[in-house]
């Protein structure tokens, strides 16, 4: 974008947007430091800093590097992935209620986890490494199913049909889960319920490694499609008139949304609300242009999940509240406040 073409008011808006991005980054850093200090074993901020620069003792190193840091990184990555996935879906469907849930991603992943737990309930060690893979497969299969059910020859996919199909398939999967729920033993039920509520339980570098490639590849890809998303937002006819090959672009963007949400959900469970709320908040902060909307939504999502996880860990020590619940309890009132305050 070339600054010389901008009017003073546009320049001002742009500066405001950059300051919002900067504020979000600062907020994430602050939450990061707080989160590092949060836990059963208290560390002072100085100890955290010293350990981060390699000066801490063995115990401090273990706590920070093996327990807290991976968890924090995962929380931020998951938030980013879900937020961008939601932003894509809201952008291409033009439906304000769209979030990764409408592609059946949460439901599919949940069903896979529940099936696994109800058929192989005893082993506690194995699932930890298998569950994310299963969840991802479940999420992906569901998305493919929904896509192929709503695909019609010559017409391709219309957003409305995609959403309706998604809702129906998700409802079907949820009812299958109700039936399975009744068969689970109480301990297994509790495990699945916590998983479904969305909690960052995979605090391990291996999970970071399984999540990171998706974001490293897909986030820049989606960002490069900002203009396409802007055009799609104007409406189908305008988009065709402007020369966008809608079907192809939409398919790629959908695939990206599935990849991001699937990877995120597979390590975090159902933190669905982030995908709904972060893009909306971002839109109200920086407007509908995806060049700013996408980074803002990503940072907001990361911040929300990190904050939620930190609060969820500290409020009821030593037991935890799933981050998904905290996100909804904190995010919803703020969202409602914005909704009541703003005109459109």
């Amino acid at each position: 974008m070339n600054n010389s073409y901008l009017t003073p008011s546009q320049l001002k808006a742009k500066r405001k947007n950059f300051s919002i991005l900067a504020t979000l980054i600062v907020l994430i850093v602050i939450t990061f430091v707080i989160s590092m200090n949060t836990g059963v074993i208290k560390l002072t901020p100085m100890e955290v800093l010293r350990t981060l620069f390699g000066q801490g003792d063995a115990q401090q190193q273990l706590i920070l590097y093996e327990f807290r840091l991976p968890r924090i990184v995962i929380a931020v990555l998951v938030g980013m992935g879900l937020a961008i996935s939601g932003a894509i879906l809201q952008g291409i469907s033009k439906n304000a209620l769209a979030d990764p849930g409408i592609l059946g991603i949460n439901a599919g992943a949940g069903l896979a986890v529940m099936l696994y737990v109800s058929f192989f309930p005893t082993t506690k060690a194995a699932p930890v490494y298998l569950l994310p893979i299963l969840a991802f497969v479940g999420a992906g299969l569901t998305a493919v199913l929904i896509y192929s059910l709503s695909y019609r020859r010559h017409e391709g996919i219309t957003p409305m049909r995609l959403i309706l199909t998604g809702v129906a398939v998700a409802a079907g999967i949820s009812s299958a889960m109700i039936v399975l729920t009744l068969r689970l033993s109480p301990e297994n039920y509790q495990f699945v319920a916590i998983w479904l509520a969305g909690s960052i339980w995979g605090s391990n570098w291996r999970f970071v490694l399984s999540l990171l490639p998706w974001l490293v590849i897909l986030l820049p890809f989606v960002y490069s499609k900002s203009r396409v998303l802007n055009v799609l937002n104007l409406g189908e006819l305008t988009a065709v008139g402007l020369g966008a090959s809608i079907e192809k672009e939409r398919r790629w963007l959908l695939a990206a949304a599935v990849g991001l949400a699937g990877a995120s959900v597979s390590v975090s469970g159902g933190i669905g609300f982030v995908g709904l709320v972060a893009p909306h908040l971002a839109r109200q902060l920086v407007g509908a242009k995806h060049q700013f909307l996408l980074p803002t939504a990503a940072l907001l999502g990361g911040f929300l999940v990190l904050m939620a996880d930190t609060i969820g860990r500290s409020i009821l020590e030593p037991s935890e509240i799933p981050a998904g619940i905290v996100v909804a309890v904190l995010g919803a009132p703020y969202f409602l406040y914005l909704l009541a305050r703003l005109k459109e």
């Binding site: 709503s150 409305m160 039936v179 509520a197 009541a340 305050r341």
Partner: protein
């Protein structure tokens, strides 16, 4: 609601007439009522003790308390079937009104925060007052549903631009997420999630005459209200601006619509939990058949919603006796393929 008969109104209504099919409406309605009567008869006669349809008839017309079969019909099966019919009709009509008012095909009564409000209250009751009688559980569920609606509606009308459909939908989604999360949190902390699941799986099995006595007057009045309001909802479903242009006081229509939805869906949710899918698919189905006139959509939704839940309840009892399959699962099982078919076929009609 419309008082002036301008040329513009006539044109719009003519346009609407073209898109609605009264003859189909009458046929659909008659077929539905016959189907409903047959389904109710079958549902009463099937069960752990099979009872012939003739006995069902005499039990209704000449009830004699000495006969066991008559007692089974009178005390267990009849209230249950009537409960199922009431619940189904309520959900479907509430869903039809919601879709008409918000013009969002994804709208159902759950969007007003009803389902999550009721679920939250139920979780609180299970956690803090275990062993509360069924009657009170239903009442508290209804209070929860009302709470959900009150928050959604309050937020919506507090805002500067008034309660637009978009704002209603977003506020509903946010409140549902909030109350849902609180309920989930309570359920996880007190480890009562599975008890709640069993409650929801129970469906209409626990319905008794005393519950019907309390619920049915409210539901009947609300149904009549819905039918009275249906013409205004048709106008509103053309869009806010057109409705205002036609001289409709849209705010009045919306408030009444909301109250009717609260009574219908609140009562239904409190009895069976969130079997919300009925409210989503039945209005779509009827709109697909009878066109866009909400007088027909609401009347047909009433009948077919009742039919769907009565059938689902019947299948739930018969499929795997003596266990009952969760009714919500069955409704989804019947409804999902059908809805998928409509979504594929219907194109712009949906």
């Amino acid at each position: 609601m419309t008082t002036s008969t301008g040329v513009g109104e006539l044109n719009d209504l003519e346009e609407l007439q073209k898109r609605s099919h009264p003859i189909r409406g009458v046929v659909t309605l008659i077929v539905g009522v016959i189907g409903l009567i047959i389904a109710i008869g079958l549902s009463i006669s099937f069960g752990a003790a099979d009872i012939s349809l003739g006995t069902v008839w005499t039990a209704v017309t000449h009830f004699s308390p000495e006969l066991t079969t008559h007692q089974i019909i009178h005390d267990i099966r009849l209230p249950r079937v009537l409960g199922a019919a009431l619940v189904g009709a309520s959900f479907a009509v509430a869903g039809a009104i919601m879709q008409g008012m918000t013009r969002n095909p994804l709208a159902d009564s759950g969007l007003l925060g009803l389902n999550s409000g009721a679920a939250f209250m139920l979780a609180v009751c299970f956690a803090f007052f275990p062993g509360l009688p069924y009657m009170y559980l239903i009442l508290w569920s209804f209070v929860g549903a009302g709470l959900g609606v009150a928050i959604v509606y309050g937020i919506g009308s507090l805002s500067k631009g008034g309660l637009t459909p978009m704002r209603l939908v977003l506020a509903g989604a946010a409140v549902s997420a909030l109350l849902g999360a609180l309920g989930e949190g309570v359920a996880l902390y007190f480890r009562i999630g599975q008890d709640l699941a069993f409650w929801y799986a129970g469906g209409v099995s626990g319905t008794k005459w005393s519950h019907l006595q309390i619920l049915s007057p409210w539901i009947l009045v609300a149904m009549i209200g819905a039918l009275v309001l249906s013409r205004s909802i048709t106008v509103l479903s053309l869009g806010e601006e057109i409705a205002v242009g036609l001289g409709q006081r849209t705010a009045v229509v919306k408030i009444w619509g909301m109250i009717i939805v609260l009574v219908l869906a609140g009562a239904a949710v409190s009895v069976v939990g969130a079997v919300g899918f009925v409210g989503l698919i039945i209005p779509h189905l009827t709109r697909y058949i009878v066109g866009h006139d909400y007088r027909w959509i609401i009347a047909c939704s009433l009948v077919y919603g009742a039919l769907l839940v009565v059938l689902a309840d019947l299948v739930a009892r018969v499929i795997n006796p003596p266990y009952e399959t969760p009714i919500g699962a069955l409704i989804a099982f019947i409804g999902v393929p059908f809805f998928l078919y409509l979504a594929r076929k219907g194109g712009k009609e949906l």
